[in-house]
Symmetry: D2
Subunit: 261 residues, 4 copies
């Protein structure tokens, strides 16, 4: 069964910048979704900031195996209720891929628990992306390195928690480096960050970039049933303890009480 | 120079439960701080929920090398502004130790980016804490295992991100296990979670528990100067690039613009 | 296409102990392989210590997607040449699953680079295996915990490198705990250790244990083409550098020299 | 008390290459040890391949808190007995720092359990080392990046296990990147790899490089008492189990037997 992907796009600069509109006439989200659909094995649809609830209703997330997120100018306009919903879905098992400037998006920062900051320069310089883990599933079918002739620079230190694995590191013409592909797990959900994708360059038309995103979708997809309540903290009554025990000493909670939160 | 520790206590059950007040007549925070001060090398003071700004002003956090947090009944009463401030301090380099029911405290959940849930049972059962990493600094001077005759049970799965290292695992009489000592880094700050410490038992009077907390303070202390702006994302102008480059292609940002957030 | 599994069994106690022979009349390796074959999606065959080259020729390893290893009494009889070959295959992309007493097998110790020691007791006590990561692929379809009524105890500290992820932790009736399911990557190969399986108990007939092994096979399988030379350290000639550079300063190596090893 | 460091140098090219002898007239090991001694807080001595037992007797290792290793041309001449001894000391708690071409040294490969390979080019190009973890103890006092005008290139993928933390990443003029500072723990010993230091360039005279090595010594030093038998796998007799149990079922081992290895 095809993996169901929702590509979320902020869809701001596509409307306000002729440069961006020229590169992505249907929007960046459509370019990303289109490449996934052409690859096969994936059914990709899109959602944008401007839709009601940013297109990310409970129902929509329940039908999404992997969510891809691109945002930049309008991070602050994303409603906190939707951010909560997205994080809840990740913890329940939805995969999440954050692209480029989504390092500063609300859901990414929430999932990381850290500042997610970096240095940057918009000079159209050359980026060369190196595999650090050649046989990682996200690197499947890729050469040991590939180039993007024009990209924005992102530089270290990148303020994220130590990842499960570092998959890619970027070299920049201006002299910086950046950990461009990193994996984490949050609850039952797999999370991948992939650096390239400044909106004034045709990065998402690049076949290697498209391949990384497709691989990441496959990697992030958790086929297990979605957890209904990923934050549940159930009490185990004394008489249901795996080993027989007798209650001893004082306690705070009455029988059947929930815990404090 | 002594490490400056602030022990934050919710200080609710000490006021409302005779059992808790009997075990910790000065409050749990005072018991923890007292043990640290007697150990030497540390200057521990306390702060509580009931103080203005919960006792955690900017000035106080700036003077705190390591913050210890115990909360349970009143997680929801902790103001979001103080939570922001605490996380900011951790990212800047302040160490943070979260004890027992603080797994559900707002700052811990914020720093983890995950549900932090578990199973639990309040039956006064025996807990045996095993070292998984015998020569880890947080295990210094401890036996391979030690017991707490009466404790609340916490059971796996524990909904936290994979740690840098697992230092302790608990065995419970009723049949469960739990990763009781875990380390992470968030920004420039070291974070440690330590499980024991239900308020109806004399856990913080236990010498082994006190030793763990003292060790964890030493481990969590980052002697580097506190970062002033841990979320800074500075632009590197083209003429300041480490390697000489020439700007190419279109760009979104004007000279001197800040980035989007 | 079915995943090709080779189950390697030491096959000593099956020949020398009536107890073991009674439980595993065809050998432990056959019991494990049989369960995998019945599950489907896997083609499992066996190899044993007593075969020429222990049944693990270059050709055999080249046809093995995932190797499962059980050994105990005869670790020292495994030839170093075969150990080299197995490690080379793992680095090239073959998955490897080490069961129970294989914690002290030569290939596991070689791949870990650490002592791999633990404490132990052979008393037929109850083991309860807890999931620490409920939606990990290796935990698919399993309950939050399951029991083995009779097992050998293994206790912490377990002398292995910090894993990528801790998937299972065991509780023992006698009071110990153990990290029973751990993952690593070594070169292009995925490595999993799973604790249960003392030969005097019917552990490999247990459906939950069989499920873990099947899941681990799927997880460990790396579909990428096997690396031909996983230790290659190629020189990149100056005129093939990704960016044009001019050689400067003194050098040790002549044109076309290999590096030192 | 000062940390006792032994700097092990292969001491081959210093004797055979005028270029190397010109840069390091007393040998690279003496240059490294001298810088440490001038910094204070450390007592550094040296040992070389040419000494009996390569200068690394049991007694010498027992007096060594942190061992620094530089080798290149003569990896194969290091005796396996000494390699065993070094690994045993690391597992017991000795810190170990491997420099540059020591990525292919026998003890490093043994401790990693992986090929430790990379790509390389000897062209005297510029290397720029970036901090990925600005407040890590090994980065203390260093700028966000520093340069070595002439270095050998090492390129990804670097065939090592995923580290505990990535501390440095290098940018190379010719277009490659490399994870230049990585940490692991093996048994009770802390292990750090640091990339720079090709023998035909004056890298170990660079103040930033010296600072990294000094920081790494402090980080790697484990003040705990050295484990006497880091591979011990003690039997826990039934009557010494933490919880009272009764032996059940068949067993292989007689009372007081050691385990199999």
């Amino acid at each position: 069964m095809a993996i169901r992907v929702t590509v979320w796009g902020e869809n701001v600069h596509e409307q306000t910048s002729k440069v961006v509109a020229g590169i992505y006439p249907e929007g960046m989200h459509q370019a990303i979704a289109g490449a996934l659909n052409r690859a096969g094995g994936v059914t990709a649809t899109t959602a944008t900031l401007q839709e009601p609830e940013h297109g990310l209703t409970e129902a929509r997330l329940a039908q999404t195996d992997v969510l891809i997120w691109w945002g930049h100018a309008a991070h602050g306009e994303v409603s906190d209720a939707v951010v909560d919903r997205v994080c809840h879905a990740v913890w329940s098992g939805m995969g999440a891929i954050f692209l480029h400037s989504a390092h500063f998006s609300k859901p990414f920062k929430r999932l990381m628990g850290s500042p997610c900051n970096l240095t940057w320069r918009e000079a159209g310089e050359r980026e060369r992306i190196w595999l650090t883990s050649r046989n990682h599933p996200i690197a499947a079918g890729l050469p040991d390195h590939f180039e993007l002739e024009h990209e924005e620079m992102y530089g270290e230190p990148f303020g994220v928690p130590e990842p499960l694995e570092t998959v890619f590191i970027s070299w920049f013409q201006g002299g910086e480096v950046f950990r461009s592909g990193l994996t984490w797990r949050r609850g039952a959900g797999n999370v991948f960050y992939f650096r390239p994708g400044h909106e004034t360059y045709p990065t998402y038309h690049d076949p290697n970039v498209q391949r990384v995103i497709l691989n990441a979708v496959t990697w992030a997809h958790n086929p297990a049933a979605r957890l209904q309540d990923p934050g549940a903290a159930p009490n185990v009554p004394v008489d249901k303890a795996p080993e027989p025990i007798t209650e001893r000493g004082p306690r705070l909670h009455g029988d059947g009480d929930g815990g404090f939160r």
